[in-house]
């Protein structure tokens, strides 16, 4: 069955620390991969996406993610987090109308 898993449930960092959130997927065939973010009190919004080509994709607010096919991973990174990055982050995979989300990772950034 197709699935997406996120390893970290809650991550707490201090400002300026580096961030890496894990995401692994299990899909047969081609998969499009996404990271969505949900800031407190707001709706889910797209952070970045990977369809094909360069496996290193850059999104908004300095975030990036790397698609590593051999590891079935699509980890999210940011070199230096800010307090405003406090949010819940969801990894998602899409194939043939089937869109699956991971359980989410809550990121708390301490000022």
């Amino acid at each position: 069955a197709q699935s997406v898993s996120q390893h970290n449930h809650h991550v707490i960092l201090s400002e300026a620390a580096s961030l890496e959130l894990g995401c692994n997927y299990s899909y047969g065939g081609t998969v499009n991969l996404f990271w969505y973010v949900q800031y407190p009190g707001q709706h889910l919004q797209l952070l970045l996406k990977y369809f094909s080509g360069d496996p290193l994709v850059k999104g908004i607010k300095g975030f990036e993610a790397e698609f590593i096919k051999s590891k079935f991973s699509f980890n999210l990174r940011k070199p230096s987090v800010q307090w405003s990055d406090t949010a819940e982050y969801f990894c998602a995979g899409y194939n043939n109308n089937d869109m699956r989300f991971g359980a989410g990772t809550r990121l708390t950034v301490k000022p």
Binding site: F34, Q42, H43, L44, L46, K49, F101, A103, G104
Partner: protein, 115 residues
């Protein structure tokens, strides 16, 4: 409209009552998804509509849950005889069909509390 609109934003109901949640997708988006997000958990797929095709209902948790969509516009999710475990935020999302890449646009959700 400019974005996906959901109503009501908050609904408190008594166990056993029926509730109806509404989603108005972005104009021109023919694909529409419903998800459930329980407190502290991820997004659970419920149902998917694609144009006039038969919906994918594989995620509906029980026969108390049903959803309809009028053409390529408004969708309603109905929960009959609500139970406390139905308490959650119900999210609607829409996307383009042509060359659908899976990029979804979400509404702000309907928070359901069953007492």
């Amino acid at each position: 409209g400019a974005g996906v609109s959901q109503s009501p934003s908050n609904k408190v109901t008594e166990k056993g009552k029926d509730v109806e949640l509404r989603c108005d997708p972005i104009s021109g988006h023919t694909a529409l998804y419903w998800y459930r997000q329980r407190l502290g958990q991820g997004l659970e797929f419920l149902i998917y509509f694609q144009g006039n095709s038969a919906p994918d209902k594989s995620g509906l948790p029980s026969d108390r849950f049903s959803a309809e969509r009028t053409g390529e516009s408004v969708s309603t999710l109905t929960i009959q005889r609500t139970q406390q475990e139905d308490s959650a935020v119900y999210l609607c999302a829409s996307s383009l069909t042509s060359g659908n890449t899976g990029e979804l646009f979400f509404g702000e959700g309907s928070r359901l509390t069953v007492l």
